[in-house]
Amino acid sequence: GAGVSQSPRYKVAKRGQDVALRCDPISGHVSLFWYQQALGQGPEFLTYFQNEAQLDKSGLPSDRFFAERPEGSVSTLKIQRTQQEDSAVYLCASSLIGLAGGEQFFGPGTRLTVL
């Protein structure tokens, strides 16, 4: 079956613009995660959903970052008033269940460049 998909794959924004990044998880996966991966770094946790509930948003770097998953499937990560430090690859991952030790399936990521 289809894996996790993300769109767009590449996004260039001018500083101050708002962006919206989309994630389509594997069908039936309860858990959904967003990560930020800066150049030369590993993925850094941003937020976690279990179905439509956002259970952990402790990794969101500022109140300019907002994520939603209103129907428990597709998720959108929105960044308002983008800054140059927001440039990174944004990864989405889904998991059948949210228990520790469960495998996360990753999408290809969206590379955001803020000019």
């Binding site: 770094q41 030790g101 290809p108």
Partner: protein, 115 residues
């Protein structure tokens, strides 16, 4: 909180030679450990994981990792690498506490297999 250290950012190795990618973690409680691989232009994929039981875990493509609690390590090894193993490898850790737990990734090691 847990943390992961991958000291080697790049490891060049000749084809058919053995390789070891190092991973050390820090945690005050029991953990689950993972290795993820990212091939060029693809998303991260789970390579292998340690949850419990035998401290030596293997992947289907010849990699193995050994959980060493006393040294807080989970090094990844392969006795003979192939060109197709060229990729970036990420070690990750999560707390062994049941329920949802945040996953912490290392900074990654780029394995370059030289023909």
């Amino acid at each position: 909180a847990q943390s992961v250290t991958q000291l080697d950012s790049q490891v060049p190795v000749f084809e058919e030679a053995p390789v070891e990618l190092r991973c050390n973690y820090s945690s005050s409680v029991s953990v689950y450990l993972f290795w993820y691989v990212q091939y060029p232009n693809q998303g991260l994929q789970l390579l292998l994981k340690y949850l419990s039981g035998s401290t030596l875990v293997e992947s289907i493509n010849g990699f193995e990792a050994e959980f060493n609690k006393s040294q807080t390590s989970f090094h990844l090894r392969k006795p003979s690498v192939h060109i197709s193993d060229t990729a970036e490898y990420f070690c990750a850790v999560t707390l062994n506490s049941g329920g949802y737990q945040k996953v912490t990734f290392g900074t990654g090691t780029k394995l370059q297999v030289i023909p």
